[in-house]
Structures are given as structure tokens and as C-alpha cells.
């Protein structure tokens, strides 16, 4: 929908020339800009997310600490993958957390068996999640609409129950799977760090940069996740712009016409399901790489619901929307939830006592433990007024500005005309 070629009388020759130009890395037009934005945001995140000096009262709104930044990009990957299924084909899976959990378990098992290098763990998490989603997808995709959603939900809850109790030898039940010193770790060399690392570089290695009152954490683990997310995003753009991506949108638009056009929609949807399952597995593997633990709660339906919220909040079917949605929800979860009554009293301290208490009382249900309430309201507002999510909001704002500029230009011209007269 970007880079639309105009067909004029002299058209075909020029358009053909433009068509041949491959752009940068197979991307063209607005996609290059989009890729650039994502690249910049992820690389500069430690700075962008810490806009307030560490000592100021606003410091609690800083989100630039390693743990949270890692979660931003990991859930970004999860949501990008989910969007390939939901955004393109319209099939709403309520069980994607199962693949996330499977990815985490696979990665931790690699840590236990081979050692703390994260590469084997990540590879296995993608493969296992892919196989797992192939099985679940093959069965669930026999139905569409609400039945598909219920089937995926049922499978995910089954996986959760299995991981929680039945499969305790593999998953370590409710304690969660973790690495013990008694584990074999066959490939772990003596000098390698005994926490997750990438060829010797520890995930938790952090360089703290102090500039005046500001401090920025540059964490190696975050940058590993960020590079993976940038690659995942790049792959998603390629899929969106490919014939395969077009077929997936055709599935969403009119499956009947698709079948009567000689296309079998089943393998297309299954491929989309498996790809998004592998993205989820990768996210799970990265999660375990940042903190070598895997618990069954990662597979619970609330986790599946969360990725649905992220995608819709950001804008289902758009490229950057899911990343924004993931960031927003994780920000709420971690920052809003930290605002307790003590902080509120501090904020409103300048007010007379009675009013201060009243204001704290009003705001109280929306922050701290009540952050879900704010998120819920926000979600409702977005779904009702911006069905296209935050991306649509951004587009509307941009179009208002564009109109203003045009209107401003017209006024200026009119003024100039008056002056001439």
C-alpha cells in the first residue's frame, strides 16, 4: 500500500524500471523508514526510556532498566509473531502462550543438558515450538471463528495443566524448571560463566553510563534480544509483502473465493500458525535466556490473552502496531503498578490535607494494584474509538497535522494575495 505506482500514458515503462529496483535488503518505500524507526528505537531504548534524571521525582517513570527493556522486546517478538496469524488471516488464537512456555522449557533444558550458552537453547525453543504448533494448528484449524479460538484455548490450558502437574519430570511442576549444579551441562567449559551467556558474554553484563543527573543502563542481554527482535521484525515485513502474506490476507477477506480460485486455504493458515508459534517459542527461549527459569504460569490463558491485547491495542494487521502494544502494556504493568498511595500522597502534598486525601482516593483505584483497571479503560477506548489501534491513532494525528499545514498554506497564500491587492 506504500510506493504505489501511477499509471499514466507513459506509465508502464517507468513503472517497470521502478519495480526492478529492489530498495534496501528487499524493502522499499515506507518499509525502509519503518525498519529504520524500529532499529533506532531498539538501539536507543536505554536512553529514550530514561528521560528523567535518576534523582528526580519523575525517575519512577523511567523504564530504561534492563529487566523491563528485555521484556519490551521479548513481548514485541511474541506480538509480531502473533500478528502474522491474527493480523493477516484473522484467526484469533487464544493459546499462543503455550508455545511461549514450550520455548522456555526447551531453552532451560538446553542449559541443563549442554550448558549456559544461549544459542542451542534458542534454536531448540524455535524448533520445539514449531513442532508443537504444527500439531495444535493442524487440529484447531479444522474449525474457524470462535470454535478455532476455543480449541486453541483448550489446548493451551491442557498444556498448562500438563506442565503444572502431570509432566513434572520434564517441567518440574509448580516449582518451575531451573538449572541445578548437579545438572550434566556436557558442553559447559570450566571457564565459561555459570549464568546464561553468548559465547562468554554474560546476559546480565551491564554498563552504566552517567551523564550529569542521568544514568543509562546498557545491558548486553537487552541488546541480544533487541537484535533478535529487529531480525524478527524484518522477517515479518518480508512476509507481509510476499505473495504468501497476500494469500493470508485473502484468507481473512474471503475464504470461499479463495477456495474457488484454486487455492487451498488450509496449508496457508497452518503455515501462518506455525510461523507465529515459532515466534512465540523464540520469545519464550529468550525469556529463559535472560532468567534461566521456566514456570507453567507462562502458559496460562491470561498470558495468551495478553498478547491478544497487545496486538489489538497496537493495531492488528499493521507492522509496527504489535510492538507498540507490547511496549505499552509492559510499561503499564511495571510502571503504573508501582505507583502506590505513598507516591500519590507525595504528588498531591501541595494540596490542603482534605483535598489531598480526596484526590488520592480518586486516583487510587487506577494505579498500583489497580493498573489493570486503567489498562482495561484504555483498551475499551482504543477498541471503540480507534479500531485500528495506536497505529490508527498515529495516522489520524498525522493527517490532522497535514491538513493544518495545507490549510495554513492556503491562508498564507490568501494573505499574500490580499497584500498584493
Amino acid at each position: 500500500m506504500t510506493d504505489q505506482t501511477q499509471h499514466t500514458a507513459a506509465g508502464p515503462a517507468t513503472t517497470r524500471a521502478r519495480r526492478k529496483s529492489q530498495g534496501v535488503l528487499g524493502l522499499r518505500g515506507r518499509d525502509i523508514t519503518l525498519m529504520g524507526i524500529v532499529l533506532f528505537l531498539t538501539l536507543a531504548a536505554p536512553f529514550i526510556l530514561n528521560p528523567f534524571p535518576a534523582t528526580s521525582g519523575m525517575a519512577q517513570f523511567n523504564a530504561g532498566y534492563p529487566d523491563l527493556m528485555q521484556r519490551f522486546v521479548i513481548f514485541g517478538i511474541f506480538a509480531i509473531g502473533f500478528n502474522i496469524l491474527f493480523g493477516l488471516t484473522g484467526y484469533l488464537s487464544f493459546g499462543h502462550a503455550a508455545f511461549l512456555g514450550v520455548g522456555s522449557y526447551s531453552a532451560v533444558w538446553m542449559f541443563k543438558l549442554l550448558g549456559y550458552n544461549i544459542v542451542p537453547g534458542l534454536v531448540l525453543s524455535v524448533i520445539v515450538a514449531g513442532l508443537f504448533s504444527l500439531v495444535i494448528g493442524y487440529i484447531s484449524l479444522r474449525r474457524s471463528g470462535i470454535y478455532f479460538s476455543i480449541l486453541t484455548l483448550a489446548f493451551a490450558q491442557m498444556s498448562f495443566a500438563l506442565a503444572y502437574s502431570v509432566l513434572t519430570p520434564i517441567t518440574n511442576g509448580e516449582t518451575g524448571l531451573q538449572v541445578y549444579t548437579s545438572d550434566p551441562q556436557y558442553l559447559q567449559s570450566a571457564d565459561a560463566p555459570s549464568i546464561p551467556h553468548l559465547f562468554g558474554l554474560e546476559m546480565r553484563a551491564t554498563e552504566t553510563l552517567r551523564l550529569g543527573g542521568w544514568s543509562f543502563d546498557l545491558n548486553f542481554g537487552y541488546y541480544v534480544c533487541a537484535v533478535v527482535m529487529v531480525l524478527a521484525f524484518y522477517l515479518a515485513i518480508r512476509i507481509f509483502r510476499s505473495p504468501f502474506g497476500m494469500m493470508l490476507r485473502a484468507v481473512k477477506s474471503n475464504q470461499q473465493r479463495m477456495n474457488y480460485t484454486g487455492l487451498n486455504s488450509r496449508p496457508y493458515t497452518l503455515a501462518a500458525f506455525v510461523i507465529s508459534g515459532m515466534y512465540a517459542g523464540l520469545a519464550g527461549g529468550l525469556m529463559a535466556s535472560m532468567d534461566p527459569l521456566a514456570g507453567a504460569e507462562r502458559m496460562q490463558w491470561t498470558a495468551s490473552g495478553e498478547v491478544v491485547l497487545m496486538t489489538i491495542l497496537g493495531g492488528a494487521g499493521t507492522l509496527i502496531g504489535p510492538v507498540l502494544g507490547a511496549g505499552l502494556i509492559k510499561y503499564f504493568e511495571n510502571i503504573f503498578s508501582k505507583i502506590n498511595d505513598g507516591v500519590l500522597h507525595q504528588w498531591f502534598a501541595f494540596m490542603p490535607d482534605g483535598i489531598e486525601d480526596l484526590l488520592v482516593g480518586i486516583v487510587h483505584p487506577f494505579v498500583g494494584k489497580g493498573w489493570h483497571l486503567t489498562l482495561g479503560l484504555l483498551f475499551m477506548l482504543v477498541v471503540i474509538f480507534l479500531p485500528g489501534g495506536l497505529v490508527e491513532g498515529g495516522q489520524r494525528i498525522a493527517s490532522v497535522f497535514r491538513r493544518d499545514r495545507k490549510a495554513g498554506g492556503a491562508e498564507a497564500r490568501a494573505a499574500a494575495k490580499r497584500n498584493v491587492e
Binding site: G26, R238, P243, N254, T261, G262, L263, N264, P267
Partner: protein
């Protein structure tokens, strides 16, 4: 031996005999019209041809192969395309994408995992889709989202989609239903051009006799699920049985 051979096809819905011993033979490169009053079983017959319904008994042979028991996409890949009564298009996609999809289906078959290369880099498909749109005079609308087209344009788009697969048999289910007279005439012109330019067999269901007599080489009249007569348009026009089936006892 026609390209499409329907033999003794029966289809019941509960107590209703929708099709009773239908025999039909459509010769290659002709336009065969199926007419009949409402409820005569025309659409049921068409649905049996494309795999949407499976007849209870009988056989449907296309190009020497049975279509029964095959899935819709397999039947389409054999060379049968269908234009629906209400245009079935990809409403969320652009006009150009709508035409590209059948081009891909023709080239790559029912499924191909081409997830990395860009659509725009598939120059042969792009060229095919462009020339197809030019043929139906819709090139200037290529970047419009298909759902916002007018009814007539949706119909033309759907025909372009079917034709870009170069089908051997094109099934048309009331292609001019609900159209204004001007649009109907445009559609007739378009179909005449298609017939003249391509080696294509057409099977058309239509209520509008003007359309039928402008296009058809042969006509089958269906009444209450059974073929009444089959003949050339000139013979059908004055046939007493046809008048009876269509108009009851009333005089014209």
C-alpha cells in the same frame, strides 16, 4: 462428447427433489445457458459442478475426469472457474491484488510457500494482472480497495479474476442480477468479447432473456429439477413447453 458431461444427477434436500435425473452435455467453446423459473434447481446444479454440493447419484465429468468427491480448489485447478450471483471478491484487498491472486493460483497451484520474495518482484504475475485489468478496462482503478467498487465494477473484477486463470469452463450464476440496464449491456458486451477472443466454454444461468438470447449457443430449460427441453435459442423462443413453465397458463 462435450467438455462437461452431467449424467443422471439427483440431489435431494430432505423431502425436496432439487435435481431429478439431470442430463446435460456442454460442447467445447460454446455458450450454454440454463434457464428456468425460480426453484428449478439451476443454482443447485451449478453447486454440484464446483464441489460445493455433492449429488446423491449420477456423474459429472469434466474434460474426461470426474469432478465428484474433489474439493473446490481441486476442481478449480482442473479448469473450472465460477462467477457468483453476488460477486465474491477479496473486499479488503486492492483491485490489483484481487487479480494477482488467481494469477498466482494458476502459476503455483493450490499452495506454495513463497514467504520471502516481494510481490512486486514477481514481474510475470504483475504483467499478467496488468494486462488482465486492461482487458476489462479497470487499470485506472487498480489501487482501489475492492469493497468500495460499484456493483458493476465488482462483477467485472470477479470476471477478470476468473479469466486470469484462463479456465476451460467459466460458470456464470446470474451475472447481471440486480444490475441497471446500462450495466447489463456492458456485461453482455464484455462476455461477447471474451467469447470471441478466447477459447472458452461458458455455462450461464440467467433470468434475463435479453442476456440469454444475446449470448447463448444452446439453451437448456430446467423446471422442477428436470431438464424440459434443450435446443438452440431460436427454437426455444417459441417452444410451448417453455412458455408454460415460465409463464404458467398466462398469455404473453
Amino acid at each position: 462428447m462435450g467438455i462437461l458431461e452431467v449424467k443422471n444427477v439427483n440431489k435431494r434436500f430432505g423431502g425436496l427433489q432439487a435435481l431429478g435425473d439431470v442430463n446435460l452435455s456442454v460442447a467445447e467453446n460454446t455458450c450454454h445457458a440454463i434457464i428456468g423459473p425460480n426453484g428449478a434447481g439451476k443454482s443447485t446444479l451449478l453447486n454440484c459442478l464446483i464441489g460445493k454440493l455433492i449429488p446423491d447419484t449420477g456423474s459429472v465429468m469434466f474434460d474426461g475426469q470426474s469432478v465428484l468427491g474433489r474439493k473446490p480448489h481441486e476442481i478449480n485447478q482442473m479448469g473450472i472457474s465460477r462467477v457468483f450471483q453476488t460477486p465474491e471478491i477479496f473486499g479488503d484487498l486492492t483491485v490489483f491484488e484481487n487479480v494477482m491472486i488467481p494469477c498466482f493460483a494458476k502459476r503455483d497451484g493450490a499452495f506454495r510457500m513463497h514467504a520471502i520474495e516481494s510481490v512486486a518482484a514477481e514481474t510475470d504475475i504483475v504483467d499478467q494482472a496488468e494486462s488482465m485489468l486492461a482487458e476489462v478496462n479497470m487499470l485506472e482503478k487498480r489501487d482501489i480497495v475492492a469493497s468500495s467498487l460499484s456493483r458493476g465494477d465488482k462483477r467485472r473484477l470477479e470476471m477478470a479474476m476468473c479469466l486470469s486463470q484462463t479456465p476451460k469452463l467459466l460458470l456464470l450464476d446470474e451475472p447481471t442480477a440486480g444490475m441497471a440496464r446500462a450495466d447489463t449491456n456492458n456485461t453482455i458486451e464484455l462476455l461477447k468479447q471474451i467469447k470471441a477472443r478466447r477459447d472458452i466454454t461458458m455455462c450461464i444461468i440467467e433470468h434475463d432473456m435479453h442476456v440469454v438470447f444475446s449470448l447463448a449457443d444452446r439453451i437448456t430449460v430446467l423446471a422442477q429439477g428436470t431438464p424440459l427441453v434443450e435446443d438452440t435459442p431460436d427454437k426455444i423462443k417459441g417452444h410451448p413447453k417453455v412458455r408454460e413453465a415460465y409463464l404458467g397458463e398466462a398469455e404473453v
